[in-house]
């Protein structure tokens, strides 16, 4: 597990770089503004308002993870890759930095909710709220890591693909982990995998996403990519 030490160090490096680049400001301000609207009016009793703030943490997490993955200059990234000993620690490090960000934002949402609707939170509701925020944010970070360098070289294509993916998966309330995690706080309480189940599933999704990204950069799935490129060529020549 020596690469995990490198991954933590990469997370610190990328985290500081993103903090200095101020690319985190837009998603963070967006989220804070949304929380102000959500808890500023007359929010219902907890945990129902958290359904909205947890759901929004899904695209915000993707945005943050994308910003972290793209923060380094291309050449600087080759130095980081060489020092870390390969793509896995670098990809995992970026994901960890984004996850730290969504954890902070999620904590803000939970604490703000508790204060704004003082007295309506139960211990179980508090735990469910925390876990749902984490599940949504972690899944978002995983999605943002996929729709960024090195899988997508074009920022425009990455943005369109990510937005489509986020809207489709984020609006399906039956779809675990994000849809069910948000829905379980709202009207459809009690169904789905439960708060722990959603978080575990979110972590599994993240592991799969990181393995995919690191694997592609390590040159695995090369045969699949060639087949895919050939298919695109054929489609283009027909059209």
């Amino acid at each position: 597990m020596r690469w995990l030490r490198s991954a933590t160090a990469v997370a610190m490096l990328l985290g500081e770089d993103v903090a200095r680049s101020e690319r985190f400001v837009a998603p963070a301000v967006l989220y804070a503004g949304f929380l102000a609207i959500l808890f500023g009016g007359a929010p219902g009793p907890l945990p129902e308002p958290w359904a909205a703030s947890a759901l929004l943490l899904y695209p915000v997490g993707a945005w943050l993870a994308h910003a972290v993955a793209e923060t380094e200059d291309d050449t600087a990234r080759t130095v980081t890759l060489s020092a870390a000993g390969g793509p896995l620690p670098v990809v995992v490090g970026g994901f960890l930095a984004a996850t730290a960000g969504i954890a902070a934002l999620g904590l803000v949402a939970v604490v703000w909710g508790v204060i704004a609707t003082w007295g309506t939170a139960t211990t179980g509701g508090l735990l469910a709220g925390l876990l749902a925020h984490l599940a949504c944010g972690i899944t978002g970070s995983a999605v943002g890591t996929v729709f960024a360098r090195p899988l997508f070289r074009s920022q425009g294509v990455a943005l369109v693909a990510a937005l489509t993916f986020l809207v489709v998966t984020g609006t399906s309330s039956w779809l675990p982990p994000v849809g069910t995690a948000a829905a379980s706080l709202g009207s459809e309480r009690g169904g789905g995998l439960g708060p722990f189940g959603d978080l575990v599933l979110a972590l599994l999704v993240a592991v799969a996403a990181l393995a995919l990204v690191a694997g592609v950069e390590q040159g695995r799935f090369a045969a699949w990519r060639e087949r895919w490129a050939a298919m695109l060529d054929r489609a283009r020549s027909r059209g």
């Binding site: 490096l13 500081e16 200095r20 080759t78 130095v79 060489s82 020092a83």
Partner: protein, 300 residues
């Protein structure tokens, strides 16, 4: 460390490397030369572990690799020492120990930049020095340097040459300035059309089968005493480029060079170097004698 059968094709479909085999041994620097776009930087990225080749393997890469890319980025936001600390941690090293070594190296290289400003505020030379120190201060088992002398002032360039000359670990360098050739025991390889010319595999580079018509060889010889009587009376005719007591240089047509050398050796001379004359090269210039231990093949 060894690179075995490295092929690399970019996503655009351009083939950069077509089957490169290269041994990078500790003790002597390995220098890769080649024209622009020959694939040198790609080869170095692969050797440093920053890129995965399309095919082929890198065997026995040391745990700690120091890598300096070509065109070291000018837009880094972190201040230099923060970045060095982060890179030490990424390498799983103690940042304090590395920072002490980095201080010494920065002083040797004559670094004059600010420590608190972002690296984007540094001059090109100072940025290059930070990049070099990043690669050197971790005491790497393998040092991969892409054009390390670029942007350095004369003093820093000399300091870097001295640092590299005293290194015992494996070093892989590309260099346009020609300084790397002078490093003690440097092994020079040429990268052309994605392939390496090495002594072990002379077929790897598409050389012309016969020397082109009019090709000349420049022959540098040592002899006892004044070479003039020897050149005028004993040896076959040749164009004399330079002569001094104990030494002379001639140009002979490539097909006659073997016979000429045999005659010169029979007359008691010693060979200092035999090199092809590049077409269009200034014919009046006395060639520099090669450094000791330099291994450059003589194409026949």
């Amino acid at each position: 460390m060894r690179l075995v059968g490295i092929h690399h094709t970019y996503a655009s479909g351009t083939a950069a490397l077509r089957g490169v085999d290269l041994d990078v041994d500790a003790g002597v620097p390995t220098v890769v030369r080649g024209g622009n776009g020959a694939g040198k930087s790609t080869l170095l990225r692969i050797a440093a572990g920053a890129e995965t080749p399309t095919a082929g393997t890198v065997e026995d890469r040391p745990a700690v690799v120091g890598y300096l890319p070509d065109r070291f980025p000018a837009r880094l936001r972190l201040p230099p020492r923060r970045w060095l600390d982060h890179m030490a941690r990424v390498r799983r090293l103690d940042p304090d120990v590395v920072a002490d070594r980095a201080d010494g190296l920065l002083e040797e290289l004559g670094y004059t930049g600010d420590d608190d400003e972002p690296m984007s505020e540094l001059s090109k030379g100072n940025t290059q020095k930070i990049g070099l120190v990043q690669a050197l201060a971790c005491e790497p088992g393998l040092l991969v340097l892409d054009e390390p002398w670029s942007g350095l002032d004369d003093d820093a360039a000399d300091a870097l040459t001295a640092l590299l000359a005293s290194r015992t670990g494996a070093v892989l360098i590309t260099d346009h300035t020609g300084t790397a050739h002078g490093l003690p025991g440097a092994r020079v390889h040429r990268l052309r059309q994605g392939r390496l010319a090495t002594a072990a595999d002379p077929e790897s580079v598409p050389l012309p089968t016969a020397p082109p018509p009019g090709a000349m060889m420049r022959i540098d010889m040592a002899c006892a005493g004044d070479p003039r009587p020897l050149l005028e009376r004993v040896l076959p005719p040749a164009r004399v480029e330079g002569a001094a007591p104990g030494r002379f240089t001639v140009r002979v047509p490539a097909p006659d060079s073997d016979a000429w050398l045999a005659a010169a050796l029979a007359a008691g001379c010693a060979v200092r170097s035999v090199r092809p004359v590049r077409p269009g090269q200034d014919s009046n210039r006395l060639p520099m004698p090669p450094g000791p231990g330099r291994s450059e093949e003589v194409p026949r």
